[in-house]
Amino acid sequence: MSVDMRTYLAHVELANPITTAAGCAASGDELSQFVDLSRLGAFVTRSITMAPRAGRPTPRMAETPSGLLNAVGLQGPGVDVFLERELPRLVDRGARAVVSIGGGSVAEYTALARRLADAPGVTAVEVNLSCPNVEDLGRVFARDPAAAAEVVSSVRATMRYDVPVVAKLAPDAADIVAVARACVDGGADALAMINTPLGMSIDVDTMRPALAAGTGGLSGPAVRPLAVRCLWQVHAALPGVPIVGMGGVFSGRDALELILAGACVVSVGTALFHDPYACLRILRELEDLLKERGFERLADAVGLAQRPPGAGPRHRIDLEESSL
């Protein structure tokens, strides 16, 4: 018997929980050479900005143990080209498009939300809060509960009521639960985490920073424990809020770990660079693991690790006694 893999992003049903992570699958054209985008739970776009952006200088990438540092700087064509060319193509391909937005001020996020409000084919809006707030000395929105909440509530007020607004949080906040709570109070229908924490790498041969920008966002398996911790804390504090989990998911086991910590949707980022088929492979592996563990529905596994022992579908009664 197959496992019921359907899940909900707020009130929107997704056929399965695996999506791309923002900024890790470009416009969709590139990935669609390899996989049918309609088979993903959803396709999350790169963070769209109002104006076209050239991004950061190169080198933009440095590999670290089980991780990747990147400083792409939200390179993209801007919202006009996105709405004209990229979104319609995603819709044509049958993808459910979650549109990630990024801005430097509350006004820019609001303006983006207004542009998306009447665009057909927007399944949800993900608010990338890891952008520096130009009006506040470049302090990152995601590190300040009040600033994050202001962006979210403004986007929520502007978006159509039936389109969920997802607040994407960063792990390097002093108190991620406080940021999460502020976002939910501000009207976020769901939360996504984790964005990349800031890291740095120095090339000991050139004796210079490896990235032109100096610092960059760390992703890949190296950050998975950080993601699990954030999911755990936020799901424990806000058990009713749907969470999109991500951070170093390379296999079905990794996805299951995030689900057990509290994620009901799992995004795949860096793994796509390693394996263009990663999303569908991880989905298949996840389904097999759930089946092996006796689950009939994915939903039963969400946050299971947080429930008291024995709450699983199969009660572990046959624990061997210690030989001591």
């Binding site: 900024g23 890790c24 699958a25 470009a26 054209d29 590139e30 990935l31 669609s32 050479q33 390899f34 790169r46 900005t49 109002m50 104006a51 076209p52 952006r53 050239a54 991004g55 950061r56 200088p57 190169t58 080198p59 933009r60 990438m61 590999e63 143990p65 089980s66 991780g67 990747l68 990147n70 792409v72 390179q75 993209g76 064509p77 801007g78 080209v81 801005g103 430097g104 001020s105 820019e108 520096p132 130009v134 470049g138 032109a212 890949g220 398996p221 390379f250 860096t270 793994a271 796509l272 660079f273 390693h274 394996d275 263009p276 088929y277």
Partner: protein, 298 residues
């Protein structure tokens, strides 16, 4: 093998042979699907480090050669540079390798017979021989200029001598051929061959120099660029270079999908590693297609 709608495929290849070629390693891998789609200038990416690798980025390599044997083999030539290439150098016959390819925009070839000068630096020469084959089959004249720091780093000298109308070798230490750089020898080769076009593959500084020479002679130059890549198929946006488009606008384009082969004079070599102020979407600069200047938010 997983087929795709586009041209690239992912295959689990089996290493057929490994050998040392002077300073380089050569791997022949059975990779049906890639071999038959290959055109000169294409590259492949290789997953390195095995199933539980700590190296999430794939490594890019130009395809040196493809053969129809065993359903299709591809040959890669590489230098050990860091952890990934060190792992690759330890592969033995019958090991498997995860390859994705063929990737990138191949070398465009002239419709009518033309005189072509092929310039290679270090292992960059590896991708020129398949190109020379195609050019010669189209009746083109091919002249080679190959160079490196020292004799053991000049790749393919023998094969170039067999194939080329002329072959000029340069080394910086003078241990083989002329002492100096390929760009020192290039003007006279272009003049003698009455070259119509130059093709080049090698380090960025060499490509810049070769482009300058070709521009001097007012002949087109196609360069194959090597910029650090994480995905190789256009999703990560890490491999960009500033390139001037047909409309005269500079954009930060991905060298893995829009390249790695570009018209040399379109690449702003002197601005690589920066975002030129006049590039589309540059901070504080050109923010709109068409050229309207609006302030950009960082």
């Amino acid at each position: 093998m997983k087929e795709t709608a586009g041209t690239a495929v992912q295959v689990t290849g089996t290493v057929l042979t490994t050998r040392r070629v002077d300073a380089y390693h050569a791997l022949t891998v059975v990779a049906p699907g890639i071999a038959e789609r290959f055109r000169p200038g294409h590259f492949v990416t290789v997953a390195v480090g095995g199933p539980h690798t700590s190296m999430p980025a794939r490594r890019a390599f130009a395809v040196h050669d493809v053969k129809p044997d065993y359903g299709g083999t591809v040959e890669l030539v590489f230098a050990v540079r860091g952890r990934g290439t060190a792992w690759l150098a330890e592969r033995k016959a019958r090991d498997t390798l995860d390859l994705v390819g063929p990737l990138g925009r191949p070398f465009p070839v002239p419709r009518d017979p033309a005189a072509c000068v092929l310039v290679g630096g270090e292992y960059g020469s590896a991708s020129l021989f398949a190109l020379a084959d195609v050019l010669q089959r189209r009746g083109c004249r091919v002249d080679f200029v190959l160079g490196a720091a020292s004799a053991d780093r000049v790749f393919g000298a023998l094969r170039a001598r067999r194939m080329g109308e002329t072959t000029t070798l340069t080394t910086e230490d003078g241990s083989l051929g002329l002492r100096g750089r390929v760009t020192d020898a290039l003007p006279s080769v272009i003049a003698d061959a009455r070259a119509d076009v130059v093709y080049a593959c090698g380090p960025m500084a060499m490509l810049r120099g070769v482009t300058a020479v070709a521009v001097e002679f007012d002949i087109p130059v196609q360069v194959s660029i090597e910029e650090a890549m994480a995905c190789g198929y256009g999703v990560c946006m890490t491999c960009v270079v500033p390139v001037i488009g047909d409309d005269g606008v500079t954009r930060m384009v991905r060298s893995c999908v829009e390249g790695p082969v570009f018209r040399g004079e379109r690449v702003r070599f002197e601005d690589i590693g920066t975002i030129p102020f006049d590039a589309l979407g540059a901070p504080g600069g050109r923010a709109q297609e068409g050229g309207a200047h609006t302030r950009n938010v960082s």
